[in-house]
Symmetry: C2
Subunit: 720 residues, 2 copies
């Protein structure tokens, strides 16, 4: 029925291996098939029949010869062939046995609906682990448990019990681009599948991954990214227990030029703890997901509606070439609201060319003709006015998107008819114009908008925000792709069981390309004085001990020492003070280092996220990081261009760029260090828990940057 | 037909005087009445007939004896009585004449639809000024021009040409609270009027004020605030040219316990410039509107949908007693999304009591029973489960609002039927329970929800955000009302034509209760030394000149002077430097003042907003104000409690409250100064353009706060 559904995917990546058996099977068995099409065992069979799946369907039910009019079989082994896909719709207790039989008979994939696995506690976790084991040993892929299945709507492959697709509705009337959907939650997936047809599109293919005993969100994204017929992927995710796979899947989609729209829940504390109890997995920090999505060009949204709206525009609209928008209305007030909404995004509301303004003024002198363009209420009196304005704006201005607000005119006759008629004329002359409308509609006008390929939104602000998201998607698609970043080789890997002192940590960091302030470890007052003389004054003295990560708290730091006598005195004071405060501490000596004057204090750090892995942070020191949490994250490793991007995203960036009358700081040095740190982090993903470089002082342009202090926390030292 | 529509309003305030003739007229003339009910002159008459207005209706049309079945008259003077209200639906050129005639005959109010007045340029502005003059001289109230009129739906008073109310639809089936609507824009007003019935309520009464030649937004709000039958007021506003009236109207509504929901456009630069060209009036800064709304407990929203949703909940839901919410779903994923959305608001998602948790676990062991409460997909299999969970949660937990997400279950049978049936049972047992549902609906279930008084939202995040807005509205309604603040009497009023030097400005501020650092104006080096000796070191020296507001730029400031010789040297250096840099400047001398050590730098200021008047600001110094624009505003005058509220709203507040290990600052002293400044500002609303007190140093608790510098800019000195 559709384009190239029969084309096999490349299956080059082992993660996506076998998913073709779910979306493109030659035969499907329904284990536990029921005659009642409302029951969980009856719905998948009903869907396969009513959606016209053309492969072989085998209901398995020992009680009946025929189920829903299809010849049934008593068992898997009695089938005339080994099915590619088996839908397991048996009660919870019988699931494991059925799945094991499928694996033994060589079934390629199974879809499991039952709840009662990892989400309910220890016994369920054990049963789920067994499912995972069967999948791993046999190579058979398992979707679920605790999901509502999957579907390839256009070929009738419907291994799902979703009531959503039982809704009476028209199938989409046009061959719109295929928007795939991956949802970890069955209910949210079903909800989106149910709502899309009202907007004139459908998600196809779609999958809900549930407890992810085997097939997970990352597998599904990667598989869809590889399918030529899929043009974009919508995702609902609560968390990933395999961050590396998720990262690869997002990268794959990005390289395939397929936009990803992602709704990630668990943003809040209550939400995150609900995720933890719901999915029983480590889900990582929400901030790190944000960084991941940004890094791989995935568009994050924050509500079900935004996910649906963006998918809708990807299915029925156009990806604009730029951010210039024309705002057209019959209401001054709506024009202002549109301009406000646009200003909150990256949309560019620039005025019409003077010649076009003059042209419009001639058509209707009271019109507002800059941008927003206000046709005034005259648009309800003179249907030709609307078409003439549209024509003039489309031909005379270079807007990438034309956004039109028509209130309820599309709902009430005679206006609905005259408005759609005017649009039809303009559409015929400009089939490629990127037009989006906000209007209430009636059945006729909704149909007319669909036929004209003009997306329609009820609400003005949804139209603007979704149009802005399309602009960002376009920018992402046009952005040059960096080479796939290969972690730098030959970097030192630290011993995860050792504790490094400050001087040792700085030595390692220097070695990997992060400049540190020169220093010397000394063990006598006279050696301290000698080191200070060589560095030049002022200097700083700091205690060095594996047992004292918080040096200041034990009196272990003296700053701004101005001469040799003061150095010797400080040496003695530190030693006496520390012995008194921490008599058990093992002391390696004292570091002498020159004081660095001026510069902007930043903080560099890495943290090993339990789900997503090595995360690198940059922040501005002082109130920015302490009060405002002004920190930007990315996953390691990344290149210098990405590091520069991070620095520019800091809210206090202007403190670094010299905008406030100060000298511009050496942000090249900062970016180099940040990228170097990310490579070191990647090389130590299994050995380091965290690194804090605080402060990392960035001197004026051309004078470099220096770590003044550093602390490396090995993985084994942390309660993990 | 309705409650107490015939009750006259008190009309105590001259601003609302005469508006009864618009919403409660005994007779209405339609000047320019047309037989074609689609024409602007035909629609109001059609509405009056079809909505069953019971007073006398007089179509005026010299060409016809009968218009739309109603006996017509050739002119105003041929009518059997002077109508209370006249609808003027004649072409633009004939408007002024018709309005003048109405005034001469003693008509109490007219409604004018025509565009082509102040919004189109100078000629239009002149015509509009004439309308304003007629209104002022005659006392006749004028609605418009350039509006779509007004209506009191429930008594059929419909002086409007809105097509919106021609839509075929059911009138609301219940006696829901009356939500009034005031919209400056005709189109936005009509849009809201058109959309409300789909949600099972209607705006009643409503008015669009258009160009506001006479009746403006503030008049309408004040009038509605005085009507007993109105329970809340929704407002769309672009700007007010009479800030004082708007402030009084908001205050009146607040004192009457009527929530105001307000959509103010012109937030962005493009938006604001569109407002300016659209309404041709000074509209003031958007930040100041924010402060105004906050100060008077009005709830600001930022989209048409939010205005509609909040009005909907005010009409059909309940104002909750507190912020505790129970989140109930059949989906773990939706529960997380609800928790996330709630966490972004002030809603309190606290867990169910243990006993109720145990009860629910007994009902369905796999359920999630903390909060969010996840009934799992079992809710689709067992309709009794839903009712039992609801019953247990309502009786066992003390949630102020119960929020339920049901996806598309309300749309598809048999679930829609079983779900609404379960709710009906619970509703019968708990008529007062505050229940809100998010579900898609079909016609039957939508009707069922209406009958049960259970508001329904399509989108989960709208439900949560609107519920949170209701909580804030409840808090506002319960908050104790401060006495109407009377500006302090006897405060100095400065001469608007004078320019004050720093020492003069500080003297005035000290007088009104704003502590300033002690200082002395000297005119010789030796006097400077003597002053310094008396204050004690270190001291600061600053040039004093009416011509030099920016002292540092001309070398006019020396800080941290440690002894007498240095004072004399600094005196000489400043005098020499300033003479060289600004030889023309008139020099009063040099100020000597002690250096204040420590403390937190803040900035206090006032600005005279062109539309809303005297605005007082407090900000934190340094990067907070410079980089982050961390400033909080209120309109003057205000009390110390409000000042304290402002201080707590600062993003960097923790720098003042000692949370970061520093001593808590003397925020009482800061609040006192801020409130004192606001009273001084109010007393000088017609003399001062702005005041900058920068820095205003707040010392540790109990040690006070001091203005170190101050600049007062009189109104006449500014290009205004």
């Amino acid at each position: 029925m559709s384009d190239d559904a029969s084309k096999p995917s490349t299956n080059s990546d082992p993660r996506t291996h076998g998913l073709d058996a779910i979306f493109n099977p030659g035969s499907i068995a329904v284990i536990g098939a029921s005659s009642n099409k409302l029951k969980i065992g009856g719905r998948p069979l009903h869907h396969l029949i009513s959606y016209g799946y053309e492969g072989n369907v085998y209901p398995i039910n020992p009680q009946h010869d025929v189920v829903q009019g299809v010849p049934a079989y008593p068992s898997l082994e009695s089938l005339p062939e080994v099915p590619d896909l088996a839908i397991v719709a048996v009660p919870g207790g019988a699931v494991l046995k059925a799945v094991r039989e499928c694996a033994e008979h060589g079934v390629k994939a199974v879809v499991l609906f039952s709840a009662g696995f990892a989400e309910i506690g220890e016994a369920g976790r054990r049963a789920q682990a067994e499912l995972a084991m069967i999948a791993e040993e046999s190579g058979m892929r398992i979707v679920g448990p605790n999901c509502i299945g999957a579907a390839r709507m256009s070929t009738g492959v419907t291994p799902t019990f979703a009531a959503a697709i039982m809704l009476p509705r028209e199938r989409p009337i046009r061959d719109v681009p295929h928007i795939a959907l991956v949802s970890q939650s069955g209910a949210i997936g079903g909800h989106l599948v149910a709502l899309a047809p009202d907007r004139g599109f459908e998600f196809d293919p779609w999958i809900t991954t549930g407890n992810e005993s085997d097939v997970d969100t990352a597998d599904a994204i990667a598989y869809f990214a590889e399918q030529d017929y899929v043009s974009a992927i919508a995702v609902y995710i609560e968390g990933s227990s395999n961050g590396e796979a998720l990262r690869k899947a997002l990268s794959l989609a990005r390289r395939a030029g397929k936009p990803i729209i992602i709704l990630k829940s668990g943003v809040s504390e209550v939400g995150a703890s609900a995720v933890a109890s719901h999915t029983a997995s480590l889900v990582g920090s929400d901030d790190v997901y944000d960084a991941l999505f940004l890094q791989y060009g995935a568009t994050r949204v924050h509500s079900v509606r935004d996910l649906l709206d963006t998918s809708y525009l990807l299915a029925t609209g156009k990806v604009p070439a730029g951010s210039r928008v024309g705002l057209l209305t019959g209401s001054g007030g709506a024009g202002i609201l549109m301009a406000d909404a646009a200003a909150a995004t990256a949309l560019d509301v620039s005025p019409l060319p003077e010649t076009v303004q003059a042209q419009l003024k001639k058509l209707w002198p009271p019109a507002g003709v800059a941008n927003p363009i206000d046709m005034t209420a005259q648009v309800t009196n003179d249907p030709d006015l609307f078409a003439s304005f549209l024509e003039a704006v489309i031909t005379g201005a270079e807007y990438d998107t034309l956004l039109i607000w028509l209130s309820y005119l599309g709902m009430i006759e005679p206006w609905a008819g005259t408005i759609t008629e005017a649009l039809r004329r303009v559409r015929a002359a400009h089939p490629e114009a990127n037009i989006i409308v906000s209007s209430m509609t009636n059945a006729d006008s909704a149909q007319a908008f669909r036929e004209m390929n003009i997306p329609v939104f009820d609400e003005l602000s949804d139209m603007i925000q979704t149009a802005a998201r399309m602009v960002r998607i376009g920018e992402m698609l046009r952005a040059p792709l960096a080479d796939e970043l290969i972690p730098a080789a030959g970097l030192p890997v630290i011993d995860p069981s050792a504790t490094l002192t400050e001087d040792q940590a700085k030595l390692v960091l220097t070695e990997v390309g992060i400049p540190t302030v020169p220093d010397r470890l000394v063990t006598s007052a006279s050696a301290a004085r000698q080191a200070a003389e060589e560095f030049g004054y002022p200097v700083v003295l700091k205690i060095v001990s594996v047992d004292l990560p918080h040096k200041s708290e034990v009196g272990g730091v003296v700053l701004s020492i101005q001469d040799g006598d003061a150095v010797e005195a400080a040496y003695g004071r530190i030693m006496t003070g520390v012995s008194a405060a921490a008599p058990e501490a093992r002391i390696s000596g004292i570091i002498v280092a020159p004081m660095i004057a001026g510069g902007v204090e930043t903080i560099l750090g890495i943290k090993n996220d339990p789900a997503l892995g090595m995360t690198v942070a940059v922040g501005l020191g002082g109130v920015f990081v302490e009060v405002l949490q002004d920190v930007v994250l990315r996953l390691a490793p990344f290149d210098i261009a990405t590091a520069m991007e991070m620095i520019r995203e800091l809210r206090g960036f202007e403190l670094l760029d010299g905008a406030r009358g100060t000298e511009p700081a050496d942000i090249n040095a900062l970016a180099n260090a940040l990228s170097a740190l990310s490579h070191f982090a990647a090389a130590n993903a299994s050995t380091i828990e965290s690194i804090d470089i605080n402060p990392f002082v960035v001197l004026p342009h051309g004078r470099g940057a220096y770590a003044l202090d550093a602390f490396i926390s090995p993985l084994s030292a942390q309660p993990h």
